[in-house]
């Protein structure tokens, strides 16, 4: 229908929706769930005779909940994809869980209560990953420090700390080994090439 006969507000709203669709369409990969939802809303707006008619035709979607939900699905789908490229397994799992929860949400309260920021199982998963990465950094730092120490007593004490860091890493990644340090995500943290790593591995194995 031509917008010629529509009220100004209705026309403005259609232009508002068009502007949003245009922006989302510049990055269809990130916004893939929002775009069709917004296009659906735009179609309803175009078919409506007036602003009031549009609100009536939207029915229970008058609050734009499907759009808010699709934004959350897009958010966690993008995060899942990003974390897959850097191979942070806990973050991948956390994002995938949240995406599933978002897909399952039925109203705004669901979105607000079931996708909390900063706590919940996702937070625990991400915390475990954070602690493991820090433990890898400490493990490598301590191993070099161990090699630099002259006092045998200090060395014995430090080796216990090194073993504790090793256990911490293996508790959340049982397959972790020195070879892992050249693969993602550990290669992002490890500054040592193969030869230096072999040196540190030998020191670790000989002194446990």
């Amino acid at each position: 229908m031509s917008t010629e006969y529509l009220s100004n507000d209705h026309e403005y709203h259609i232009r508002y929706l068009n502007a949003r669709i245009k922006k989302l369409s510049t990055n269809p990969e990130i916004n893939q769930n929002q775009i069709p939802v917004l296009i659906g809303i735009l179609e309803i707006a175009k078919q409506a005779q007036s602003y009031e008619d549009y609100i009536e035709k939207l029915g229970e979607d008058f609050d734009f909940f499907p759009l808010a939900k699709s934004e959350q699905v897009d958010r966690f789908a993008s995060l899942e994809k990003f974390y897959s490229t850097i191979e942070l397994k806990e973050h991948i799992e956390s994002a995938a869980n949240k995406k599933r929860i978002a897909e399952d949400c039925r109203n705004y309260s669901d979105l607000a209560l079931r996708l909390p920021q900063g706590h919940g199982s996702g937070f625990q998963l991400e915390k475990a990953c954070h602690e493991r990465l820090n433990a890898v950094s400490s493990f490598l730092t301590y191993l070099v420090h161990y090699s630099c120490l002259g006092d045998p007593k200090e060395k014995v004490y430090l080796m216990k700390t090194i073993q504790s860091e090793w256990q911490k890493i293996r508790s959340s990644d049982p397959d972790f080994s020195f070879a892992s340090l050249l693969n993602k995500p550990y290669s992002y943290i490890n500054p040592f090439d193969k030869e230096k790593l072999s040196n540190l591995e030998r020191i670790f194995q000989e002194n446990q």
Binding site: D9, Y16, I30, P116, L140, Y188
Partner: protein, 353 residues
Amino acid sequence: MDASLRELLDSYISGFKMYLPNLPEDHTVKQEANQLISNMESLAESSKDYMGFMQVAQEQDLFNKIIALQSTLAAESSKVMTKDLKNKKIPTALEIAKAYHLAYDAISEDHRTPEVKQVYETVFHWEKNSQSGPEFLMHMEEEDLFLQMSRVHLASTMRKGLKDMLEAGSEWTSSGLGVISNPQLEKYFDTMEEAMSSAKTLLEMEILAIREAENSRFSNLWDTVFIQSILLELVTPISAWKMAKTEANRLNVVTSYEYLCGFWGMDWDGFFEVPRAWDFFEKSIFRSLEESLKNLGINSVEDFKNDLKSCLDTCLKGKTIHEAKKPSKHIVNFRGKEIPLTEVMDALSSAHL
């Protein structure tokens, strides 16, 4: 609380104020936002300085939580406005823009950059010149003002954050220069600003922010291990021996030097020829000790290096450590690739995920 930290908090809080007045007190998301603000205040109170706060905030992923929560608040505000529509009450431009006045009022003078002023002036122009709420919202969307309000606000906060970081410690160094050597964090602020400019929606901005935060986290962890193993393990035992000239401390100097020469395939001068190691040595170690070193007649970073070398020679007691320079060892693993030690500074400044 540190004045610059107070400004940073006020700046973030003003971002929330854009949306909070639109929601009732018992609204779950509003309560969550108030809780986050309260947590930020507590963290700031308990942090010893600006950098301490930034470090913990980054570890807790606080900045991404802020962006995510502001995005949720925006959606919730939109829902409240749509409810008004359902009741056949079309909001006026004045009603919608009320929150943006509150947000602007909360921005401190320091953060009212020309860009910030320009964006809000445009928002208030359309508030005055729109006949209704829908017309106002249309102009806001067509001229990208929702995103720009968040963008200019964050950009101004980040620029201030970078400036504060680079100047950290300058109040007590005799040269008046800062003591932070952190190319990856400098890069983080720059890249974030670039990323924010390219984003078309708050969600895109959030995803880009998370990517940059992870990039920065990895670079920081990498650099911590690197600096420790190529520089601090070298100079810390010498400093300990200078403070307490015990046989145990002397032995640590000899052992560490011997091990590091073999590990990196270089001698004393070689370590200081590594640009990243020298940058850290000059900015973070020398500048922070500059004042006390002057009392010992050490007036330059070169003097300081030579003083440490003379201590090393004393500890070695004539022992010669034969480590031929081995260029094959002058490499590091950087994100899965082997690169020369000389390229570490550039790698940290240009790393991306």
